[in-house]
Symmetry: C2
Subunit: 319 residues, 2 copies
């Protein structure tokens, strides 16, 4: 088989890798520990070994591959192919990752922000089917984003476009890990949602989540959504604030690039339709009345594979 595409999603914890045929059909995939503390060279070694094993298991070899796509957390110098100083990859400083990987596999490599890659994956194979304009958010430790405008990924002048988690929605508000105040990430990421719940309980709010905090020493976003389903009042308030933050950013992105669909991915999906409907309600309250807006607010459909599918799809573009 020829024209095989490789999609790689390098995160702080895991490296996800998939091999795809030229129609972007997944042949085989795996996830291995990233062990980023071993440093860039060892991580690239591990990537290459994992790729070779995946190919061998499918009866293929590197000669069958035409290109690879690699997504990593931003900000980075995506044009030059260099990880400069990513928060989740502490030992990766000024690492020419694209060249390192390309030299080892002997194939062209396209390098992209991980959220942009996932956005592109959802666009070509998931929630973005049959449209031309989309905005994508992935909610985890932080909030990543991506914009599709007229069928094209918005890269920006230095390939750091779509950093939607750092759009300020509450000036002078909560401190974000990026150093800004009031970013949507500081309110609506999984981490921020859990943190707001923890702060409220520590501040004396009554909640069934208190028992979780007392027992486990921490609250996760998943806990919040579970207690929301159980009818807890605080969990509802916290989720409402998350929904409102996501509705504000949705209104703002509608006015910016006017997507046909706004797609949410990540742990947030665990909250289910309760959250989605609250986002839609707030959106309806906040949006102007000058014209009827028909934007769809929905969940992503590819799950954790969006990143590797998108990276492979980007690789296809250069192959």
């Amino acid at each position: 088989m020829k024209n095989i595409l490789i999609g790689i999603d390098l995160g702080g914890t895991n490296i996800k890798i998939g091999i795809f045929d030229s129609a972007l059909k997944l042949i085989r995939k795996t996830s291995v520990a990233a062990e980023t503390d071993m440093g860039p060279k060892a991580v690239v070694d591990k990537m290459v070994r994992t790729i070779e094993k995946l190919l061998a298991d499918a009866g293929l070899a590197l000669k069958d591959v035409c290109a690879a796509g690699l997504g990593t957390p931003g900000p980075a110098n995506y044009r030059e192919g260099i990880i400069i100083d990513a928060a989740n990859l502490p030992r990766f400083k000024n690492v020419p990752i694209r060249r390192m990987l390309s030299e080892r596999i002997g194939k062209p490599v396209v390098f992209e922000n991980d959220a942009n890659a996932a956005c592109w994956g959802e666009y070509v194979a998931g929630a973005g089917k049959n449209i031309r304009d989309m905005v994508f958010f992935t909610l985890g430790t932080g909030i990543g984003g991506g914009i599709i405008s007229d069928g094209r990924l918005v890269h920006g002048s230095n390939q750091n476009g779509g950093e939607l988690g750092h759009i300020i929605i509450y000036p002078d508000g909560r401190l974000c890990s990026c150093g800004q105040r009031g970013c949507v990430e500081a309110y609506a990421s999984a981490t921020a949602t859990a943190k707001r719940a923890t702060e409220a309980i520590e501040g004396g709010a009554e909640s069934s989540l208190k028992e979780v905090l007392d027992k486990k020493g921490k609250i996760t976003c998943k806990d919040v959504y579970e207690h929301l389903a159980g009818g807890d009042k605080l969990a509802k308030e916290i989720t409402d604030q998350t929904a409102k933050a996501l509705a504000i950013i949705s209104v703002n992105m509608l006015h910016a690039t006017e997507p046909q669909r706004i797609v949410f991915a990540g742990g947030v999906i665990a909250a289910g339709d309760v959250l989605l409907n609250r986002i839609r309600d707030y959106f309806g309250e906040l949006i102007w009345s000058l014209k009827k807006e028909t934007v769809e607010i929905c969940f992503a459909t590819l799950g954790e594979d969006a990143g590797i599918i998108g990276a492979a799809a980007l690789a296809k573009e250069i192959s």
Copy 2:
């Protein structure tokens, strides 16, 4: 002469029209009262008569024209060529303006949001030269916007992309004429800047602007900037709030589409470098520290001609 392009900017008060050669060099231009209360048919008649006179004065005729571009205030159905219900054009309801004009002049007409047209004008012939990614704001009664991503105008799924004045920067904040609360337009447009000054004086604030209000019965944005230059403390506070609002939207648009240049046009230019420097100062305070940002924040260079130049340049694209 052949391949003449026509650029038209239809506003609530005036119709600006320019005729251009195929290299977009201005041959002749004029501005006539829009008299929109006469209704759509009369306005189109006046447009056509004005075009014919401009052409005749230059020794040209309609047969020399290859296409026209028309910009009007949004929101509208730009894809279908219909003004649905524009606030500044009260007698224009469901008016198929593109077809009406095209049939009268016998040439193809491209129809675009007026701020997008001005954005495109600045991009091809003004402050956007030699770059590929730009964000544009025009500050007047409202705030219009436009986005250039990788050399292309961001139209959005229904051609209403770039409505940047209605991005919410202060949730639950000042009421905007669009019905939303906290839009940047409600803080930083020329009208909103003047309104905030008036409210402050009526609320008892001391200012040299009080005399203007007492004498003229109102304060304009120009008055605020004049008294700022004169050292008035309130004028400085009001301008600071305008600058901060524009800095917030600049940070947000940087993270969204990552422009190389953010360009401000309209009455705001009268405030000069004082305002521009305050926007840059606030931008520096608000922006993240994860990487050094090199975006330029600057003024537009084409003045009131941006709209007709942009409309003609868009006409060139379809001709």
